[in-house]
Each structure stands twice: as structure tokens, then as C-alpha cells.
């Protein structure tokens, strides 16, 4: 549960602690985190463009890229050592960002295509 003490989750936990006994509060906090993770953020690829080009997400968020072009793309995030499989039309790739920071990424096939995931704590 250590990671629940990170900034960003703190406010929610505080509210829960005020309202509920500690054990229940932690349980709800865990559920809240799951709900947050399930609420994935989607980045689409149309016309060789990542959209939105910059997204800001809380850590623990899974970002899913969906290729809607009729040419393959792939997602490369060097700073977190991630390289997706090649994404043909309508294929997608998901990655969960657990560490706060700014992650620049690009298309491994068409590197002029770039985007940013800003992961908050």
C-alpha cells in the first residue's frame, strides 16, 4: 500500500480517513485507484499525428495508443525503455505509467511523429 501514500492520492485518502475506519478507508482507496486505472487514457493516431499530442495523467494510469491510419506505426518511449509491437490499422498498445515524470515518445517508423505523456505523482 506504500504507493497509495504518494502525492495525488493523498487528498483522497485524507477524505476517506475522515469518513471511515482506517481499514475500510484503505480498501476504498484501493478501489479508487483501480477505478482510476480502469479509466484509461486513449491516444489516437490519425494522419501520422498522435492526438492529443501531450497528455497529463496521474501515475498508475494506463495509456492506450490506437492506430487508425492505414499504415503501421509503433510507439517508442526511450526514457522508460518501452517499444511497442508494430501497430497495424486498428491495433493498439497499452502501457501503465507508474513513475512520475515527463515521457517523450515517438513513432519508431516515422520519428517525426512525437508526443508527450506527463505523469504526475
Amino acid at each position: 500500500m506504500t504507493e497509495l501514500l504518494e502525492p495525488g492520492v493523498f487528498a483522497r485518502r485524507t477524505v476517506l480517513r475522515l469518513a471511515l475506519p482506517a481499514a475500510g478507508g484503505l480498501l476504498l482507496a484501493a478501489r479508487a485507484t483501480q477505478a482510476q486505472a480502469a479509466d484509461d487514457v486513449k491516444v489516437t493516431i490519425d494522419n501520422f499525428v498522435f492526438a492529443p499530442a501531450t497528455i497529463t495523467v496521474p501515475k498508475g494510469t494506463t495509456v492506450t495508443w490506437v492506430n487508425r491510419d492505414d499504415i503501421p506505426h509503433l510507439v517508442v518511449c526511450p526514457s522508460v525503455n518501452v517499444r511497442s509491437k508494430v501497430l497495424d490499422t486498428d491495433q493498439s498498445f497499452a502501457f501503465r505509467f507508474d513513475k512520475p515524470g515527463r515521457v517523450n515518445y515517438f513513432c519508431g517508423l516515422h520519428p517525426h511523429m512525437t508526443g508527450v505523456v506527463v505523469v504526475t505523482g
Binding site: N47, F48, V49, D69, D70, I71, P72, L74, V76, P78, V86, D88, T89, N104, Y105, F106, G108, L109, H110, P111, H112, M113, T114
Partner: protein, 332 residues
Amino acid sequence: MGVAGLGDCTGSAVGLATEANDMNGEMIDSDGIDRRGFLRCMSWAGTAVVWTVAAGVPRSGLIGSAQAATEGLRFAQISDSHIGFNKAANPDAVGTLQEAIKRIGAAQDRPAFMIHTGDVTHLSTAGQFDTAQKVISEAGLTTHFVPGEHDILEDDGKSYLNRYGKGTQGAGWYSFDQSGVHFVGLVNVVDLKGGGMGNLGHEQLEWLEKDLAGRSASTPIVVFAHIPLWVVYADWGWGTQDGAQALTYLKRFGSVTVLNGHIHQVMQKVEGHVAFHTALSTAFPQPAPGTAPSPGPKTVPPGELRSLLGTARVSLVRNDTPLAIVDRPLAG
């Protein structure tokens, strides 16, 4: 695109003539003289261009091109076969490759060999490589390959290198000599950087410098790679980051021809003694730079497709009438 590096129309003795052949016809525009409005003359130590594409695609002429067609070394360039592509722009990329290969194999003046400037496959799968190899081998010609970015999507490029990497260096670069011409195959699709374009990398550039060192400046050089070595259009990544460095090693040579693919259309530029050409794809056309929201496959009416696909033929030209006339490609 205009023709750059125009000079004073004086001389050279050895060169290469390039023809782009579309899949509808073999029209060679040999009139050369009539299209005054589009012609530029230049000093060109060798590399003479004959683009022959019907249906409005850019074409160029060369004085003495008829002669060139029957003399010397002739080889074919094929590019961007994208085996596995099946979208609207061309549901049958295997079929159009077969047509192109059949045309090359059946030519009266058969080329001595072929080069393939990459994107043999669409997704680097073993099946796609197998299909491509089967079709390409039907020409009955030795074929020299360089990879496109679509060929190295699996296992760090091993699926490509296992087939075509024998005797090559690094990610698959190499050189060879034929009929007095020095050929250099470069790889500019590996270790690409975000926001960048094609990339040769330090190791390959060092190798290139050594490969060229000590060769006579009168040796005709043909460099081929997938992504254009010159910057065609940076907004779409159509260029090579460190291509200029490679060109510094080529500057002293009297005749340099750079053959690329990647952009699925004919473009050409001349700078000093260096002529840059890009080839048609055999799979699908792409839009001219900046004319579409993206460089994605261009869907055209079925009757037009074959006029936008094709191959190129390149001939070694030896003559005493060095004047080359290159016309400005007619955009679109």
C-alpha cells in the same frame, strides 16, 4: 521540386542515366529539346537522367539518351514493394510487384542486376519476406537489398538480416563493384531518434569514409539507401539527419548517383556532381510533399494506379557529348 545546382552546361565523360518506368508504358521522352519551358541545362560530370513516366509524373531527358539505352551497364531499381499491404490504395501489392518484375525480366535490354531500396515487406513477417523473395527471384537477376523501416520490425532486424545480411556490415550496409562502378548500399532506418529523420549513425559513416578512401575520383559512384539522403521534406521526415556528412565523403567524385525510395514518387535534384533520385513504389503512391494532411498511402482511381507505380532503370553512359538536360519534374 526544381533542379538545383545548375551550372554552365559544360562537360563530362561518364555518367549514369536513370529512367523511371511506370507500369502502363515504357515511353521514353527523347524529344528533350522541345520542352523549353521545363528544361534546365547544367554542368554535370556524368550522371545523366532519363526519367520516363507516362501520365504526368515527372520526366527528364538526356541528349543522346537513345544511345544510352543500348550501351554499357544497365541495372534496375525497384523499391517499396510493401508485401503485406492490402489497404484501399492497392489491395494487391503482390500483383503489382509481379507485374513490375515481369516487365524487368522481359525487357529486351535486360538489366545486369537489380537493387531494391527497401520496404520489401510491410510488416517484416517471415511470410511476407518469403512471398517477396519468390516474386523478385522470378526476374532471374541478382538483387542487392537495403532495408526500409518496414523490414526491421521484428527481432531488431534479424528477419531481414537473416535473408539479406550475408557479407554486410552493421545493420546491413555494404559495397561492391561492377563494370567499373562502385556501389554502396547504406542503411538509414535504424536507431531513429524522436523528432528526427533517417539516420546513418557514426559507425556507418566511419565505414563509408574508409570505403571511399583511396578510390579514384573518376570512379562512378552509386549510393543507394531507403530514405532519401537529402532532405525532401522535413515535416514528413523525408530526409536523413546525417546525410550531409555522407555527402562530404562523396564530394570529390566526378559522378555520384544517389538512389532512394521511401517516398513512393519520383523526385530528383542535382547538386554539383551528385544526382539524387527517388523511385516509384510498386505498391502504392504517396502524396507530393505538403499536398495532403499526411504522407499516408494515396488512393487514386483504379485506372490511374499503375501510372503511379513502377521501377527505374539506370545505365552507365560513356560518351563525348556530356551535356545533360534535366527537366523540372512536373509536380502532380
